[in-house]
């Protein structure tokens, strides 16, 4: 029984991480109909900012060596700035382009970021140790739970609530929701396009930074391709949850996390390395029966 509960907590924790990543993707999709391939690389850059730029085999912590609060603040700031810069330089000129162009553009940004990091830091995975206290376990009600998992779940809860409150209760949040539903009409009411999109990118960058910190604390490894898997799972989560729906993205994230942990537990040993492949397979099956996702958003459907 305790084993099952432990797996449940693993699932909620992993699901939280994917929910945060999916929200980062979903926010930008909502206002711009852009699927940001580079989101995974925002996460990656956030992680690499922790170490000194050098191709040396052993990584020297840079921001990673700062006191915890300063480190977190700095990483979040860096990723937010990166997101805003990407919006200004690449996505603003592409604002009225068709979805295919936007998609390829974000893929180009992703490729660019990965290879910049490759040039600066080298291609070998590097080890880093931050917030190592969180990797200890606590015993709660007879369960051994890594502190990091509790932190992940807690942080996700706080961020989700904060985001929901922001969207529901503030004027800016209302403008973003309106822009996500009907961008042109929002502009006709005086909603500033640049402001709303910048806010979405900033929020997305913030979420990416959080994911970067949580991921790096857990894995302790940096690799220039480390953003691919999170972003792919994030995409898949938004597709399952229903494109254009923020609650759907979060729900999709939790679902993907749960399926992932379930497969990890249930798959016979030889197949475990292929766990990710099975997650995608499961997703494709869901999409067979509900191509619009589980929480189909009316906004995402085209009207003739």
């Amino acid at each position: 029984m305790t084993v099952v509960l432990q797996h449940v907590i693993d699932a909620v924790s992993l699901g939280s991480l994917y929910a945060l990543a999916a929200l980062g993707v979903g926010l930008i999709f909502g206002v711009m109909r852009l699927i940001n391939f580079a989101h995974g690389d925002f996460i990656m850059v956030g992680a690499y900012a922790l170490i000194v730029p050098s191709t040396a085999i052993v990584a020297t912590p840079l921001i990673g060596a700062w006191p915890a609060l300063a480190m977190v603040a700095a990483i979040l700031a860096i990723v937010v700035l990166l997101a805003l810069a990407t919006e200004r330089i690449v996505f603003r000129p592409l604002r009225n382009a068709d979805p295919a162009t936007l998609l390829i553009g974000s893929f180009a940004v992703s490729f660019f970021l990965q290879h910049m990091v490759l040039i600066i830091y080298g291609g070998r995975p590097k080890a880093i140790d931050i917030l190592s206290g969180l990797n200890e376990q606590v015993i709660v009600l007879g369960l051994r739970i890594p502190k990091l998992e509790i932190a992940t779940i807690g942080i996700t809860f706080v961020l989700l609530s904060g985001l929901a409150l922001f969207l529901k209760r503030t004027m800016f949040g209302l403008q973003i929701r309106a822009a996500a539903e009907d961008f042109d009409m929002a502009r006709l009411l005086g909603v500033r396009a640049n402001t709303v999109i910048a806010m979405a990118f900033a929020a997305s960058g913030f979420l990416a930074g959080v994911v970067a910190l949580l991921l790096t604390t857990q894995s302790g490894v940096l690799y220039f391709g480390m953003g691919v898997q999170p972003v792919l799972f994030a995409f898949v989560a938004t597709v399952i949850g229903g494109m254009g729906s923020l609650p759907g993205a979060a729900l999709g994230g939790f679902l993907v996390g749960t399926v992932s942990v379930a497969l990890q537990v249930l798959l016979p040993f030889e197949l475990r390395l292929n766990r990710d492949a099975f997650v995608f397979l499961a997703v494709i099956l869901v999409l067979l029966f509900r191509p619009g996702g589980l929480l189909q958003s009316r906004a995402a459907k085209e009207r003739v």
Binding site: L94, Q114, V283, P291
Partner: protein, 354 residues
């Protein structure tokens, strides 16, 4: 009534012009180029097969598939299993089924079966995926690529996992690659101007109108998808027999990006775009490769760090997307126009009318 001049200009020339262009390049390389240049041209010709294959689906349907390289991987491994020598297979790939492990097939047979396998795979995954909206399909295809990558990387006994399968017959010389490119172009061309291609392109531009006109968008997309999978598979086979080895990390994001960049820079909507894109980007990559190696100007040396190629490619792609999203060819095929031909046309027309 369409004069034969019109038919030539609009129907024959689009394909003929590309064939002539490639022939010219190949001849030049054969006569005046050393082995290095010929190798570059061969590689470019194989890229043409891949990019034209992608164009068949992406250009005609408007759906950007990020996972077409999975067809390349499937076909490449398939041909490797068939053409690799049994001794190697017994040692490195113990998990292969008997009929593969013990036999070594002729290259031609391997090509056919590998391409068919890629097409069959495209059909199987196309069935669920084509039902998705454009963006959903794009993401799903990326997931498929990821699945293929994961499975093949871990299935050590059958694929060799992350190590390579080596010792494949390297029959993909320049003439062979040229032939492959011709085949790809011909298939793509006849598809595009068939009623299937036309129906699909109608749906690309206005899906609702096409549906209203009775076009079954799903089946047309699936047809293009399977055809496209086969041609990309052909590219995979040629690639495997050009390098002589097959290894899973060659079929991941790098080549996906390069082929997509070639298609977009040239112009997604036309075959001319695919060819022009490959030629331009191959040249650019070659240039940047030289710069990375270091250019000696006598009194100083210019050498940029490795990785500049990819950065340069990303910047070029972004520039095209921002300033010329329809690509260098603006998505148009090469058709004959202009003063000289118009004059020629009017001469032939008037002699007919009088």
């Amino acid at each position: 009534m369409e004069g034969w001049a019109d038919i030539f200009a609009r129907r024959v020339w689009p394909l003929l012009s590309l064939v002539l262009l490639l022939s010219a390049i190949v001849l030049l390389a054969a006569i005046a180029g050393g082995p290095l240049i010929q190798r570059t041209v061969t590689e470019a010709l194989i890229m043409i097969v891949l990019v034209v294959g992608m164009q068949i689906f992406i250009g005609n349907s408007g759906v950007v598939s990020f996972g077409h390289i999975s067809f390349m991987a499937i076909a490449a491994y398939a041909t490797a299993w068939q053409t690799c020598c049994p001794a190697f297979k017994a040692a490195i790939l113990p998990g292969l089924p008997e009929f593969l492990a013990q036999n070594q097939v002729s290259s031609l047979a391997a090509v056919v079966t590998s391409v068919l396998l890629a097409g069959a795979f495209a059909f199987a995954i196309g069935l669920p995926i084509i039902r998705l909206t454009g963006i959903g399909a794009s993401i799903a295809m990326f997931a498929v690529l990821s699945i293929v990558n994961t499975v093949y990387s871990n299935w050590d006994s059958v694929t060799g996992g992350e190590s390579s399968i080596i010792g494949l017959p390297t029959y993909a010389t320049m003439p062979v690659a040229f032939l492959g490119a011709l085949v790809a172009l011909t298939v793509a061309y006849f598809y595009k101007f068939s009623r299937f291609g036309l129906a699909l392109r109608a749906s690309r531009d206005d899906e609702f109108a096409a549906r209203a006109a009775g076009v079954n968008v799903y089946w047309h997309r699936l047809i293009a998808f399977v055809l496209s999978g086969g041609v990309v598979g052909l590219g995979g086979v040629l690639h495997a027999h050009f390098i002589g080895t097959v290894s899973i990390d060659a079929y991941w994001i790098g080549i996906t990006f390069i082929t997509l960049a070639m298609l977009v820079v040239g112009g997604m909507r036309s075959l001319a775009g695919a060819v022009v894109g490959v030629v331009m980007i191959s040249t650019l990559i070659e240039l940047l490769r030289q710069v990375e190696k270091g250019l000696d100007f006598g009194f100083f040396k210019l050498a940029l760090p490795p990785g500049v190629q990819e950065i340069g490619l990303a910047i070029v792609l972004l520039a095209i997307l921002i300033y010329r999203p329809s690509g260098i060819t603006r998505g148009q095929e090469f058709t004959l126009g202009g003063q000289i031909f118009a004059r020629f046309k009017s001469i032939t027309m008037s002699s007919r009318d009088s």
